[in-house]
Structures are given as structure tokens and as C-alpha cells.
């Protein structure tokens, strides 16, 4: 595992279309540096794009924290999307395929959950929403050195 200048958590603003593109690029770069395969990178970047758009459209903007996880058997990346918007009133409904409140396809929440390994929503009406997702580079733990 390489130590890199990206080892510390990074926070990026989400306030415009251009920010979404920047988030996608930064997530891809962080995932590539951690050794994610192409498919894993694509899945995580796509999930990030969905969730960042939710932050922008439904949360009225916010930010994302990108945290590389280097301690486990396999490197991972944690992304926390934070907004101070109206919150999600009905979480179960928001997690249903096809449910939409923003004129999209309604796949943002439910779909991105399927693209990552861990998915957590913390939402309080009137206070905001934090969606935290984690993906690991490999499901099979890599062979330890020296064996």
C-alpha cells in the first residue's frame, strides 16, 4: 500500500455542476491510487456522482469528505456526502427503486447502494442529510507479504 499525499481525508464542496465533475475526478483518482480495479473504480465513481447530485439537488449543496482506509486487509475508500437541506422524510421510500422527488429516474439512492459495500444514511428533517458509503478494493483479502 502506498503512502501518498491523499492519505488524509479531503473535503470538496458540492455547489455546482462543475463541482460534481470535480468530485468524480477526485474519487476516481483516490480509488485508482488505492489500487481499485477498473470496474470497482467505475462503480464507486458512479455512486459518488449519484450521491453528489442528490446533495446538490435535494440538499441544496454541501460537501463530500473523501477518506482513504489503509488499515484493513484490503484498502478502501469512504465517502461522506453532507448537506444541511430539508432532510429525507421517508427513508424507506427514498431507498425504493423508481421513487423520485427530483424528476430523475429514482435510482440515485437505491442504485448507489448496490454499487458500494457499505451504505449508511443519517437524516434529520429540517437539519440535513449525511450519506456515508464505503467500498473496498478487493473482496478477497490480498496475500500477505512474506508467505
Amino acid at each position: 500500500m502506498r503512502a501518498s499525499r491523499h492519505a488524509a481525508p479531503a473535503s470538496l464542496p458540492i455547489g455546482s455542476d462543475a463541482d460534481l465533475a470535480w468530485v468524480r475526478q477526485q474519487v476516481r483518482q483516490a480509488a485508482a491510487e488505492l489500487g481499485f480495479g477498473l470496474v470497482q473504480q467505475t462503480k464507486l465513481v458512479t455512486a459518488a456522482s449519484e450521491l453528489a447530485r442528490n446533495t446538490l439537488v435535494h440538499g441544496g449543496g454541501g460537501h463530500v469528505e473523501i477518506t482513504p482506509l489503509n488499515t484493513g486487509p484490503s484498502p478502501g475508500l469512504r465517502l461522506a456526502f453532507v448537506d444541511a437541506g430539508p432532510g429525507i422524510r421517508d427513508l424507506d421510500q427514498a431507498m425504493t427503486d423508481g421513487y423520485t422527488s427530483g424528476g430523475g429516474l429514482g435510482l440515485g439512492m437505491s442504485g448507489s447502494k448496490r454499487l458500494v459495500h457499505e451504505f449508511e444514511v443519517d437524516s434529520r428533517p429540517g437539519e440535513g442529510t449525511t450519506v456515508t458509503v464505503t467500498a473496498w478494493a478487493t473482496v478477497v483479502p490480498p496475500a500477505r507479504p512474506g508467505s
Binding site: V39, V139, V140, P141, A143, R144, G146, S147
Partner: protein, 301 residues
């Protein structure tokens, strides 16, 4: 035999220190005796010096652990220096067909030579002080046994994980059957990890071979449950997004029954009963017709 159990906690620390000092002092003799024990003798077959050297490093590690007083801590950093070595020894015994229980016995056998040496250190081996040191040594040797077993288990897990990964790749060859037609014969159980590999190799082959048709042959898949069906449907959908048509072949009657019984809807998936039928379909879609060569033509060659 008298062991002062009541004072054990208070007295353990000095006993451990004494054992540590003893292991340091007698390291050479211990190593010499261990070299003849079955574990070292059978692992280091090339030269006895090697076995002695290995024995020295294990004794040194035990001394370091004893010095900390945490005799039963398999996570003690003192073991770190020999963990790799113990792992290699365990792996070597494993290759010779010695199971975990056999290995545990061999490690247990290392205790006796050291105990003898330790006992000889005391004028009265039945004195409480001697008993405590012997007890401490017993605990320490038990911990060593756990460490060895742990290295075999984790080495085993690693091997299994690695083999699994290799098997996933080996077990999914993508074959070009015809111009623009590729096929994957699936054999064995399809779990999530494996279907992921299947999907990726099939899609890569579609690009590499510029395939229009991709055949997933499940003749060798023992059972199709809703999870497997879901994986198949995802693969079909992904191939379609890339512009290739996917055909699932080799659905045996029993599997067809199961699919119906489970209420799985394979409606959007094109199926054929055999690989042959699937190939015939792909060829006819490309305007290729296979017909027997007439006897006269064949004879003319």
C-alpha cells in the same frame, strides 16, 4: 506436588523473568536439543546447523516474550520475529501431510527437553520457586503452540483465498466459437465473486473478439437458484448494453423445472437447451447456414 496457586499472580512476574533469563543463558543447549526433535529434524533436512539456527531464534523469541511477563499473550511482539519462520515450518510440515493435530504434538514435544534443562537449574526441583518457573515455562510453551497453530490457520486461509481467486480465473475460459461468437462454458457453482469474474471476462471478450453473440452455457452448473438467475440476467443485460446478444444454453430439464418452480422470470433472456442449439441460432442470425456436404462433393475432394 505443591504449586502455590494462591501466590501465583504475585509471584508470576519474577518467575517469568527467571524463565526469560534461563532461556537466554541456555539458548545454545536448548537449540541443540530441539534440532533433534521431530519438528526441527523433519523440516530442516539439508543440514543440522539450519535446525540449530532455527531453534536459537525460537528460543530467543520465547525469552523476549517471557521478559514482558505476558506468557499467554499470542499477540506479544516477541513472537513477531519468529512468526514468519514458524509459518514456514508449519507450511513445510503441512506439505508433508502432517495435519494440525500432528503439528500440535510436535510443538508440544519441544517442551520436554527445555523442562529438563530448567529443572536441572534448581538444587531442589520441588521447591515452590522451581515449581513456579516450571509452570511459567509450561504456559509459555503452550502459547508457542497456539502461535504455531495460528500461523498454519492463517496461512491456510491465505492459500484458500488465493486459490479461489486463481480458480475463478481459470474456471471461466471464454472461447471464440465462430466469427463474432464467443462462449463461456460454466462449470460448478456460481457465487457472487465468480459471476463477477464471468461477467467481466465475457464482456472483455466481446470487445476483443468484436462479438455479436455471447453464449453462456450452464450445462455444468449443478443448480440454478434465484441468485444465480439474477447473475445470469445481469450478465445478459450488460452484454446487451455493449451491443451483443447473449444466449443462455444448457438448461437441463431439472433446472428448467426449478426455475419455473421458484417463479424466476427469465423472460428477457434468450435460452436454448444446448450449446449446439445456441450456436446454430447465432449462426443463422448471421446468415450462416450449416448443411451436410453431399456424398458426391465429399468424394470429389
Amino acid at each position: 506436588m505443591h504449586v502455590s496457586v494462591s501466590d501465583e499472580n504475585a509471584e508470576r512476574e519474577p518467575a517469568a523473568q527467571q524463565v526469560s533469563a534461563f532461556l537466554e543463558r541456555r539458548r545454545e543447549q536448548i537449540a541443540q536439543r530441539w534440532a533433534d526433535a521431530s519438528l526441527f529434524r523433519t523440516v530442516f533436512t539439508v543440514s543440522r546447523d539450519e535446525a540449530v539456527e532455527a531453534g536459537r531464534s525460537v528460543a530467543a523469541a520465547l525469552a523476549a516474550v517471557a521478559a514482558t511477563g505476558r506468557l499467554d499473550d499470542i499477540r506479544d511482539p516477541g513472537f513477531a520475529a519468529v512468526r514468519d519462520q514458524l509459518g514456514r515450518m508449519a507450511a513445510s510440515r503441512g506439505r508433508m501431510g502432517i495435519g494440525a493435530d500432528g503439528l500440535a504434538d510436535e510443538v508440544a514435544a519441544l517442551r520436554e527437553p527445555v523442562t529438563e534443562l530448567l529443572r536441572a537449574e534448581f538444587p531442589d526441583p520441588y521447591a515452590p520457586e522451581a515449581q513456579e518457573c516450571l509452570l511459567a515455562l509450561t504456559v509459555l510453551m503452550g502459547t508457542l503452540r497456539l502461535v504455531v497453530l495460528e500461523t498454519t490457520v492463517s496461512a491456510g486461509e491465505e492459500v484458500i483465498a488465493r486459490q479461489r481467486e486463481q480458480l475463478n480465473e481459470v474456471a471461466t475460459p471464454v472461447i471464440k466459437l465462430w466469427e463474432s461468437t464467443v462462449a463461456v462454458p460454466l462449470i460448478g457453482t456460481l457465487d457472487s465473486a465468480r459471476s463477477q469474474v464471468v461477467m467481466e471476462s465475457l464482456l472483455d471478450a466481446i470487445v476483443a473478439e468484436r462479438a455479436r453473440f455471447a453464449i453462456l452455457d450452464i450445462t455444468g452448473v449443478p443448480t440454478v437458484d434465484s441468485l444465480v438467475a439474477q447473475h445470469l440476467m445481469k450478465t445478459v443485460a450488460a452484454a446487451r448494453l455493449m451491443g451483443a446478444e447473449c444466449i443462455v444454453s444448457g438448461i437441463r430439464p431439472a433446472i428448467a423445472q426449478t426455475i419455473v418452480h421458484l417463479g424466476i422470470d427469465l423472460g428477457t433472456v434468450l435460452t436454448r437447451s444446448s450449446l449446439e442449439d445456441a450456436l446454430a441460432y447465432a449462426l443463422s442470425r448471421q446468415g450462416v447456414e450449416i448443411a451436410p456436404v453431399r456424398a458426391a462433393d465429399a468424394g470429389a475432394r
